[in-house]
Amino acid sequence: METFLNILVSGILLGGIYSLVSIGLNLIFGVVRIVNFAQGEFVMLAMYATFFLSTLGIGPYYAVFVVAPLMFVFGLAVQRLVLQPLQNEPMMQIFATFGLLILLENAVLALTRGEGLSLAGPYSRVVIDLFGLKASGVRVIVFVAATAIAIALMLFLHRTMAGKAIRAVIQDRQGARLMGINVERTYLLTFALGSALAGVAGALLAPIYTLSPYIGGNFILAAFAVVVLGGLGSVPGAYIGGLAVGLMESFAGYYVDPALKQAIWFIIFVAVLIVRPSGLLGRAGAEEVGLRAEAP
């Protein structure tokens, strides 16, 4: 029983990691309609920035307040300078994000020469032990942050004008444009927000892993599955999808075989897609259901 509960806890905490990485990706996916292949590399970049700040004596839980705004600005620049000029060529946008992935990986590689870096402060050793249930402190923080971000983002999307504009664009971008919403500015804001969330993820995940320029790729495969499973453009979808994938992975890894866990959750993922093509909580936009052609 204790083992079962420990796996449950580790699955929930892993789900927190997946949720945190996926929320930003899903926001961009749902609103800007871009599969941002470089999202994992944004996380990687933020991890290295956090590592760099730690060498200056700034711990990751302070660094997050520097790294996230920096990544926001970085996201603004990428959307404005790289993606917006390609707006009418969605295929080219995908290639551009892929190019960005290669560029970021190699730039970091050139700077660090690929040496594995670790940020191991005293906090990374904190373990919460409750009647034999063990949870690593840094992972609990990630989970709490993912939950808080999901709630805050929901409030933002439902209670503010900017958030409502984003939701309008998700549903029907042509209609939104006709209502006077500046779609380009919404894209800009969303992409920047998405990369700021990658910044938060990077800062909070940095104490858990040994950094390598390729670490972004480790997160992103799962994050794509989470996004599709949870539902396109849906914040609670990404959060719940992340938890679902984390739990599936933990239980499959322990009770079946750690080497097969990815195969198992991909099977479940395909099954969900067959039953619910728009994901658990997703609602297809007007373009997807064929009510309207893609906006020019």
């Binding site: 083992t3 420990n6 796996i7 580790s10 892993l14 990691i17 997946y18 590689l109 050139a110 020469r113 690929g114 040496e115 594995g116 870096l117 670790s118 191991a120 990374s124 050793r125 373990v127 032990d129 063990k134 949870a135 690593s136 858990i208 892993y209 040994t210 390598s212 320029p213 390729y214 670490i215 790729g217 480790n218 997160f219 799962a222 984390g246 992975e249 933990s250 890894g253 322990y254 075989d257 750690p258 080497a259 866990k261 990815q262």
Partner: protein, 406 residues
């Protein structure tokens, strides 16, 4: 007109004839294929530093076959670059011999290319078993490979860990963890077979992906089996994540042994000196071993510090250094750099173990794998790695410290 043409042809012919003659009197050119840029550059550089130190040593004594030796680098981090680098070294730099390679896949492709130019490929550092098993007629490996790492991890478990735990091998429960590519899998299979032959109980074999985000499941499975010894073969990121998870989950096996990686500052930074205390690592022989086991190890360390003004980055350099020494001896014995003649001379070499700085001897098997090249076992002690096995390699006064995880 005709005479002019004749004279021109004659001159051209004479030049063609004189080129090999010139090459014979010039330096012996050795092309070193390794990653010098990209993620593995650090180790590629280190391996080539080892070559350079052996070459400096030989040149100081007047070179080999009366010729100086020159090292030319070819940068390759993947198989495709390996082919390109080998072609460039063969055609533009006219190298006589190839050496390498920190990456097995690069060695595989580059040695194939070298064969097309009928050049010897002398490997010092690649680990994959299939490199020698291919039976390529230009290939020789002077250093240890995957199988030697598996063998030493098992010998170390039996002769070092079991006595320290106060158990006989037959009572020993072992968990074998490995990353799930051919590298980790082939080592784990051999470990299991050898341990079971000796009567040890292999309570579980766990495979994991080295890029996994979470390895709690792997650690909980091992914890449930309550092994005396937990052995892991993998890379740096997954090895670090496993140890961190082990600490978080309160899994404290009486002994931990890592194979291949885990003996560098990359692991020290991630886990800290306190936690690593007592963990053993099977790795390349290190310069801190005794002179009786590795004659010349101290001289290597001194020469390295003098030339590069720092401590060696990784132990791979010393294995490369010894590999180059063996190569130059084979060339001297062959009286040529021709691949068949050098291989024939290498086949006749017979040196007992403990002949070189790494503790290696020389005896090549049918597939030109050196049978007397082995890794050693080190232990983390207060943030430093100390050679502890084989016993004669350990400095006097060095003792195995408490193995139990704290």
């Amino acid at each position: 007109m005709r005479t002019v043409l004749e004279r021109w042809l004659f001159t051209a012919f004479a030049i063609t004839l004189s080129v090999p003659a010139l090459a014979q009197s010039g330096p012996i050119r050795i092309g070193a294929i390794n990653p010098y840029s990209g993620p593995m550059a650090l180790y590629g550089d280190e391996v080539s530093r080892g070559y350079q130190l052996a070459i400096d040593e030989a040149n100081a004594k007047g070179g080999v076959l009366g010729r100086k030796i020159e090292l030319i680098r070819g940068d390759a981090g993947n198989p495709q670059q390996g082919i390109t680098a080998a072609e460039k070294l063969a055609t533009q730099d006219n190298v006589d011999i190839f050496v390498g390679t920190y990456v097995s896949a690069v060695s595989n492709a580059a040695s194939d290319t070298a064969l097309r130019y009928s050049k010897l490929y002398w490997d010092t550092n690649a680990l994959a078993a299939d490199l020698t098993e291919r039976g390529l007629p230009n290939f020789v490996r002077s250093g240890p490979y995957a199988r030697s790492f598996a063998d030493i991890s098992v010998n170390g478990t039996k002769e070092l860990l079991a006595p320290a735990l106060g158990k006989s091998v037959k009572d020993l429960k072992v968990w074998i963890e490995h990353e799930d590519s051919i590298y980790g899998t082939s080592i784990a299979q051999r470990q299991k077979a050898l341990l079971e032959k000796d009567g040890a109980k292999v309570v579980g074999v766990g495979a994991h992906n080295f890029r996994a985000i979470d390895l709690t499941d792997s650690i909980l499975r091992a914890k449930g089996a309550a092994p005396d010894v937990w052995i892991n073969t993998g890379y740096v990121p997954d090895g670090n994540l496993l140890l961190r998870t082990m600490r978080d989950q309160g899994f404290k096996p009486p002994a931990v042994m890592l194979v291949g990686t885990g003996d560098t500052p990359e692991t020290l930074d991630a886990l800290g000196a306190d936690y690593l205390n007592g963990i053993t690592v099977v790795g390349y022989p290190r310069p801190d071993q005794t002179e009786t086991f590795g004659p010349g190890a101290a001289a290597y360390l001194a020469a390295y510090k003098k030339k590069y003004d720092r401590d060696p980055i990784a132990p791979q350099g010393m294995t490369a250094y010894v590999g180059m020494q063996i190569l130059l001896e084979a060339v001297a014995a062959a009286g040529s750099t021709d691949m068949e003649k050098v291989r024939a001379a290498a086949a006749k070499m017979d040196k007992p173990a403990k002949s070189y700085a790494t503790g290696f001897g020389v005896k090549f098997d049918q597939q030109f794998q050196n049978e007397r090249a082995f890794p050693t076992v080190v232990q983390w002690q207060s943030g430093k790695v100390v050679t502890v096995y084989p016993k004669e390699a350990a400095q006097p006064g060095v003792k195995l410290i408490s193995l139990q995880r704290q």
